[in-house]
Each structure stands twice: as C-alpha cells, then as structure tokens.
C-alpha cells in the first residue's frame, strides 16, 4: 500500500497561502494572549490551592459555592471535573489565599467548609489518613492487642484505607461499609467515634508564590535553552541559516500552540510545558528530514534552481513526513482520548503541536531557506546555491 506515489506538488509556489494561514493562527493566538484570555496559567505557575473532591452523590455547585462563601472563600473557583458520573469537583483558590506562613490553610478551610454539618466530636472516616487511624486504634485498643498492637492496628488501618480508596473509589457512604474488612469489635468502636461525610479528597495541590514564580522562569528558560540547543546543533550539522530557519519554524509552533491554549482557555501546567518542549524536538525532526534531503539534492542536481530543489526534496520526503506525523498523531490521539483528565492538557498540546509542527517544516522552514537565498542573490552575491554537504558528514554507501 502506498499513499503518495511520486507526488509533485508546487509547495513553494503556494507559500503565500500557507504563510497567510500561519499568520492568521499566530496573530489570532497572540491577540488572545494579549487581550482576551491571556496565558491561562495552571496552579503550578500561578500559585494557589486546588482541591479535587469526590462526592458520594452528584455534587451541587451552588450548594458548594454557598458553603465556600460562608467560610469566607469568596473567590473560590468551582468546576466539575472529568465525567459527570465520577461526581468530582475541583475547588481552586487564588494565590492570595495561599500564604507561605500557613501553606495549607486554604485546603483546611475548604475541608472544614464542606463538612459543615458534621456530628459533634466525631471524626470523618472519608477524610482521615492511615496514620490517624492507626493512632486512633492504638489509643482505643478494641482488640486488646497487647505487645503487637502497633503492627496489628497498622495492618488494620491499612486495610480500611485500602478498602475506602481502592475498592470504594475514595468515599464510603456509611461507617458500616467497612464491616467486611474489620472485626466486629473494631466496627463498634468506629460506629461510636466516626461518621462519614458525603465527600473525600482525591488530591491536593498547593503551590506557594515562590515556587510558582520560579517555575514560570524555569519554563521560559527551558524552552529558550531548548531552542538554542537546536540552533547550535543544526549550525554544527548543516549551516547557520538552516538552524535559524528550523528554530524560527519551531518558535512558530510553540507560539501557535500556546496561542491555541489561550484561545481555548485551557490551563498551561507544568506537563503542558513538558509537551511543548517535546514538540520543539519533534517538530525539528521533520525539518531535519527535509533539510537532509535538500542537502543531498544540492549535490546531485547542480543545474536546477534552489526553488526546484527544495520543492523536489519536500515532495520526496512527503510520504515519510505525513506517515510519521500521522503515526505519532495516532498515539497522541489515543493519549488524548483514553489517557484521562490528568494528562488532558499534555495530550492536547501534543495533538495541536504535531499538526502545526508537520505543517511548519514544510511551509515555514523550507521557504525561509529559499527566501534567504533569493535575498542574497538580489544583494549581488555570486553563489546562488547553499553550501553543499561538508565532507565529514558524507554518507558512506557500500553497494
């Protein structure tokens, strides 16, 4: 099976159409970054508190908001998370409610607000940790365990926590649920001292202002270093202009990806930055494959003009470019669809980036080479071709 048999498309002839498309996308993203959604930063970068809560019944956002308001958290952001059947909600607080003196104050206030009408003097079995349970059991000693109390109650506490978190997916609907994993005497003791609220905390992220700022700086630096690394490598392997063209194409990909996140108002988290950095490397792949072919053809087809050579090279590698991008796209799409909510931003960045990256190596990087060459010719430079392959890079082919 073959998708492309000797394609002969005049890519460079249509470059203005594609450049125009790029321009629309970049400017659209840029406008959104500047004037509309700005860059929606995830809690990793903006700092703040995020608590992901699972409820036993479908949560009522208005009721939760009322609880938060009562607790003084006026600016809490409340949004449903994942599939509706999961009964999960994200509650997010801004940076200003997260002080480094008491980093977890916001989290504690949220938990307190949610467990508003808890019975007096009873602990919430849905929101106690393993250590607390072990300690409780040891102080009550319902089994009169004697010398091996620590070990025995440790195992029992672990069994209860595992049952709640793994079998019951994080929330129990009543204290009696644990009857299947604990002896009757223990259950009795739990019935007296515990209750179950209608929610459980699945995860908590609290980022203080220092870390947020530091991560912002690091993310920008990492992206720049990565582009710089590419530039140097391409300079070393090809010529400076190849490196510049490739890096401009990559920057274009990064800009459009971030712009799309802004347009769609999807938060940029640390893993999204990881995806963008991967894209920098990946988008470079396609560009290099095309450049390699250009260099090879420059040697073989000395009579033809640069435009013709570049066109030919793109066409020759088109099948490979489309195939590999398509296959990587398949895997990334699988990640986007099946990978779950946590990786949502990450896989979205890859989905967008791979499309843009493939497009830019053909329509941005290669035309830049030609444009550079043409401008040199106009300025009166004698050599109209790019320097061909250096001898040290020569491919040795044994027949």
């Amino acid at each position: 099976m073959e998708l492309f048999r000797n394609p002969n498309i005049d890519f460079l002839g249509k470059k203005w159409i594609f450049l125009g498309l790029s321009l629309v996308l970049s400017v659209g993203g840029l406008l959104s970054i500047l004037f509309w959604h700005h860059i929606p930063l995830g809690v990793d970068f903006s700092g703040g508190t995020i608590v992901r809560v699972k409820f036993t019944t479908p949560p009522n956002a208005d009721a939760i908001r009322a609880d938060m308001d009562k607790a003084g958290l006026k600016n809490a952001r409340i949004q449903p998370y994942g599939q509706a059947s999961n009964n999960e909600v994200l509650i997010a607080l801004e940076q200003k409610e997260t002080s480094e003196q008491a980093l977890d104050q916001g989290k504690n206030t949220i938990i307190k607000a949610l467990s508003g009408n808890a019975p007096e003097g009873k602990q919430d079995l849905n929101n106690v940790g393993y250590a607390t349970l072990q300690q409780y059991l040891m102080s009550k000693d319902p089994l009169h365990a004697g010398t091996d109390a620590e070990l025995r109650y440790g195992q029992l506490a672990r069994a209860i926590v595992d049952f709640r978190d793994k079998t019951k997916d994080g929330v129990l609907s009543s204290v009696n649920d644990i009857a299947s994993v604990v002896p009757p005497a223990v259950l009795q003791s739990f019935q007296a001292d515990f209750h179950t609220s209608n929610f459980g905390i699945r995860n908590v992220d609290i980022i203080g202002p220092t870390v947020g700022k530091q991560l912002q700086k690091q993310a920008v630096l990492a992206t720049l270093y990565s582009l710089l690394g590419m530039l140097i490598y391409l300079w070393f392997r090809f010529e400076l202009i190849y490196g510049v063209a490739a890096v401009v194409a990559c920057f274009h990909d990064t800009l459009i990806t971030v712009g799309m996140f802004s347009l769609l108002n999807v938060e940029i988290s640390l893993t999204v930055i990881a995806a963008i950095l991967t894209l920098v490397g990946y988008s470079m792949n396609d560009t290099i494959v095309v450049f390699d072919r250009i260099r090879e053809n420059l040697k073989l087809l000395r009579r033809e003009s640069l435009t013709e050579i570049v066109n030919k090279s793109i066409n020759q590698t088109l099948s490979r470019t489309v195939l590999t991008s398509g296959l990587t796209f398949l895997t990334v799409l699988s990640l986007y669809i099946f990978g779950g909510e946590v990786l949502h931003g990450f896989s979205l960045a890859l989905v967008i980036g791979i499309l843009i990256g493939t497009y830019s190596s053909i329509f941005i990087a290669a035309p830049m080479l030609v444009a550079y060459q043409e401008s040199r010719v106009r300025k009166g430079a004698k050599v109209a071709t790019l320097p061909a392959e250096r001898s040290k890079d020569k491919v040795k082919v044994k027949a």
Binding site: Y233, G281, N285, L327, F338, K396, V397, A399
Partner: protein, 547 residues
C-alpha cells in the same frame, strides 16, 4: 551473496533476555520472585519498576531552608567572641551588633572604636576572625563582612544538615522509601516525597520543628508578665544587662477562662542547649501529665551541674524554638537529667522526644509547595495510562502491518523490543515511572516508528529506481542513518533540558523518552536490519521484497 548474521541474532536474543530479566527480576531477583509468588506478576514487576507518587499516591513537599537563620546564629557567636577579644585586648567599644539580622546577617557592625586602636582591631580580625573582612566607615565605625566563600559554605552546610535531620525524623516515622534531597538550582530548597502518606499534617509539623532546645535562667523568679510592656515596666523600662523578653508557649488562662499570653525575662545566654542532649524519651511527670525526659552528655551535664549549683533557689526556663515551654525553680544542683512537661498530649510528647533525639535543624524551614495524591487517583491514572498506551500501540502496529506488509511486522517486532528494553532499563536503574512517563512511553512508540518509516520509504524509493532488493536495503539503511541520528539528537536534547529543569512527574517523562529513543536506535537500525538480512539470505534472485 549471503551474510553471516548468527552472532547478530545471538546479540539480539541476549539483549531481549537481559532486559526481560530487568522487568521481571530486576536488581534483586530473590525479592521479585517472592513478590510474584505471593502477590502475582504485577506485584513482581512493581518491585522493580518504581512508580512515581502520582501513580501510587503520597505526598510531595518542597521546602526552603531559611539559611539566613544559620548565618545569623553564626554571626551572633562571632559577635560574642569579638567582644571577648576586644575586652582582653583592652580595646574600648560602644557597640557590637548585627544591624539587619533579617536580610544581612553576615554583617557585624562595630561602633566607637578609638582611632589609636584600629591597628589592634585589624590584627585581631586577621588573626582570629579570618573568615571576615574588615572595612571602616565614618565616625570610627567598622563593618565585619563574612567572606563570600565562607557565607556560601555556611548556607550550603545548613541545607545539608537540614536534609540529614529531616531524614532522621522521617526514618523514625516509618515512612517507606522516602525521597529527601536538595532541589532546584541554588535556592536552598529541599524536595521531600513521602509515598503512601495521604495526610501530611503531622509529618509536616515534625519536619518543621527546629527543635532548638535551650535551658536559660529566668529572671524575677520566673514571673510571667501579661505583655512585653508589663515586663519592661517591672524594671522601670530598662532590662537587666544580657537579658531579653521571650513569649511563653503555654497560654495562661485567667479567671474568666480567657487565654492570655505570658512573657518572661530570661538571660540571653543558655546554660545548656539541644547539642548537649544524649537522649530524650516520652514519659510522665509526677502529676501524670505526658512529659519528655532527657539526659545530657557528660560535658553538658558538667556545665548544667555548675549552673544549677550556682543558682539554687533561682528559676530556670526550658526554651524550645524561641518560646518558653516551662519555668521551674532549682531546688538542688542537677547533673544530667531534665524534664519538659505541660501543654502536650501523649502523641505530642512522643513526637517531641523523637524530634529532640533527631537533633536540631540548623535553620527554620518553610513550606513552598505541597501536593497530595490519594491512592485511588493513582490507580485510576495507571489504568487510563496503560489503556491509552495499549490502544495507541495497537493502532500503530496495525497501520504498519497494513501499509508495509512484511516489513511492517519487522517494525512491530522492533517496537516490541524497544518497549522491553525501555521497561527493563527502568527495572535495572530504579528510575521512576510517572504518569507523564507512561505518556513518554506512548510517544516513544510513535516517534520510534519514525525511524522505520524513514528507512522503509527510502528502500521503496531505491526499489522504484530499479535497485535489487539487497542493494535497496543497503542504500535505504545507509541514507537514513544520519537523518535518524539527527532526529534522535534533537529530541534527546529537549528531553535532557526537561530533565534538568523538571521535577517529579516531568522528570519521569524525560527519562522514559530519552531511553526509549536510545533503545530505538538499536531496534530500528540494528535489529530491523538483521531481520531484513535474514529474509534476504533466504530470498531467490529476482524475488520481490514485501515492503
């Protein structure tokens, strides 16, 4: 023309076996076999491939050491020493202070030195305080500045010491496989990862306690004052020399049941400190209240004995972390035992004893980041990640088979081996697999197949140009090789930068991506070539290549 590929096949099979060993048996085969027997295959694999906190649940903390605390306490000691030296050398001065102890604790300023003593002062500093530079200012003032390399070493030392202390404390709490290490680039931060800890409040308190224990003399028979002003007024606004006012930790309750703060006047210097502790145990005092009993070292005991002998019927105060825990009268000379009690329950007394045993933190710490992943969330993530990986891989494999027929099977074998090597590598090195790491695994599949496509497309092209199958294969691999190196280098460069800048989950991603691509060089170029060669060896002249 047949090629001898026997040794190459042996090499490939050997590699496969080694990395399968890595996945199932890892570096500790006995433990893995036991885990497989007791809890099944998955548990055995988990014994070798360590899951990140985001997959198995736990708490991730980043904390910062307030290194200026350590510098401050060092400077304070130096200031005291300097006063001694000046006194011994009969140099008069009006003041030796650390003026900005918050921001510049490394600066000690000296005031009122007579001009004729300047030479002597310089000699003292060069001979005895060689870690400081002396500069002179207006009106006979001088500034001692800690030398930059000493300052850096001191700060770094505080971080190292803090890591040690925190490790001691966490080890005693029985958290399994904790990670405690320096974090970031010179910001005095420490990363703490606690697998399985879903409620970090207590651990955080225990880690944060500096546990600076001091025993000082309490002035005014240990009288508590309701406010600092009241304490000052008791002395007509001027405190006795070398004393200071400290707040009490235990709140006093007055007759209305309202709690009031208590302030005490204490000497600045301490008779003994936490460094003189030999042991600390939880216990009970005479009234049955939970307490912490401690023993002093021989040296500390001697000092405590001479202090208590000299102050019978005076009062002493136990100060913990700058707050007065307890005030008691000295009835008789005490040599090496003591007790802290009041205001704590049984658990707190156990924790305090443990903290005191583990030693003091050289400086305070503050928490910068805290994230907790519940175990149910981790299990969900694994399920979804593995599902996405399997579907993605199946899609790629089916496509490769449909598009390239036999050569597609060749590529798929390579992909499979690629994954085995990657997972085996994780098993051998103990590198952590995180959720983004699983994503890296999926990406490796997508990007790894890129090399195959490059080579196959080139072979097809050569075949179209009329080359024989063996020569087309030769040319295809030859031409694609450099391109493959280029594409791998660029991706690995970005992964390396991610590794340097990233934390936890992102680092896991960089690791799997890098090693996936390195393994891909072997599988897509070497293994795939060997499979082609073995086919070509059996080929009849003129037979077409299935590609």
């Amino acid at each position: 023309m047949k090629k001898n590929i026997t040794w190459k096949i042996l090499l490939i099979v050997g590699t496969l076996l080694i990395f399968l060993w890595g996945i199932f048996l890892g570096t500790d085969p006995a433990a893995s076999i036991q885990a497989i027997k007791e809890k099944g295959l998955i548990a055995g694999i988990q014994q070798n491939i360590h899951l990140g906190l985001d997959l198995k649940g736990g708490t991730h903390l980043i904390l910062q050491v307030k290194v200026n605390d350590a510098v401050k306490s060092d400077s304070q000691q130096v200031a005291e020493r300097l006063k001694d030296y000046l006194r011994n050398a009969n140099i008069n001065y009006t003041d030796v202070t650390i003026e900005d102890s918050e921001n510049h604790p490394e600066l000690i300023s000296l005031k009122g030195i007579a001009p004729e003593s300047t030479g002597d002062l310089r000699n003292i500093v060069t001979e005895r305080l060689s870690d400081y530079n002396l500069t002179s200012g207006a009106n006979n003032t001088f500034t001692l500045t800690m030398k930059p390399q000493t300052l850096t070493a001191l700060k770094q030392n505080a971080v190292t010491q803090a890591i040690e202390t925190i490790r001691n404390r966490i080890d005693q709490l029985g958290v399994s496989e904790p990670v405690i290490q320096e974090h970031g680039l010179g910001e005095y931060q420490i990363l703490v990862q606690l697998p399985g800890v879903d409620d970090p409040a207590r651990v955080k308190d225990i880690m944060q306690s500096t546990a600076m224990l001091e025993i000082r003399q309490a002035i005014d028979n240990g009288t508590p004052y309701p406010s600092e002003q009241a304490a000052l007024q008791a002395h007509n606004g001027v405190l006795p020399p070398d004393t200071e006012i400290l707040k009490g930790r235990v709140e006093r309750r007055d007759s209305n049941g309202e709690s009031n703060d208590a302030y005490y006047i204490l000497t600045k210097s301490s008779a003994v400190s936490g460094r003189d502790l030999r042991d600390a145990r939880p216990g009970q005092n005479q009234t049955g209240q939970p307490s912490v009993n401690f023993n002093l070292t021989r040296d500390g005991g001697n000092r405590f004995y001479s202090f208590t002998s000299a102050h019978v019927n005076d009062y002493l105060a136990v100060v913990l972390d700058g707050k007065v825990r307890e005030v008691a009268s000295i009835r008789e000379p005490i040599r090496d035992t003591g007790e802290i009690s009041g205001g704590m329950n049984e658990q707190q007394s156990k924790d305090l004893a443990m903290i005191l045993r583990s030693g003091a933190l050289p400086a305070g710490i503050k928490y910068l980041q805290e994230s907790t992943v519940g175990p149910s969330l981790g299990a969900d993530s694994i399920r979804q990640g593995v599902r996405a990986a399997i579907y993605g891989m199946l899609a790629v494999m089916i496509f490769m088979f449909v598009y390239y027929r036999f050569a597609g099977i060749n590529a798929n074998l390579g992909l499979f081996l690629n994954l085995v090597i990657l997972l085996g590598f994780l098993g051998f090195t103990g590198a952590t697999l995180t959720l983004p790491g699983i994503a890296g695994l999926i990406l490796t599949v997508g990007m790894g197949v890129d090399s195959n496509v490059l080579i196959f497309e080139r072979i097809r092209e050569e075949l179209r140009n009329g080359k024989t199958p063996p020569s087309a294969v030769e040319q295809g691999f030859g031409h694609a090789w450099l391109t493959i190196i280029d594409t791998h280098v660029t991706t690995i460069v970005s992964a390396a930068i991610l590794f340097l800048f990233g934390t936890g989950p992102v680092k896991g991603f960089a690791v799997t991506l890098t090693f996936g691509l390195l393994a891909n060089l072997f599988t897509a170029v070497f293994v795939s070539r060997v499979i082609f060669d073995s086919i070509l060896n059996r080929h009849q002249r003129g037979e077409a290549l299935s590609i």
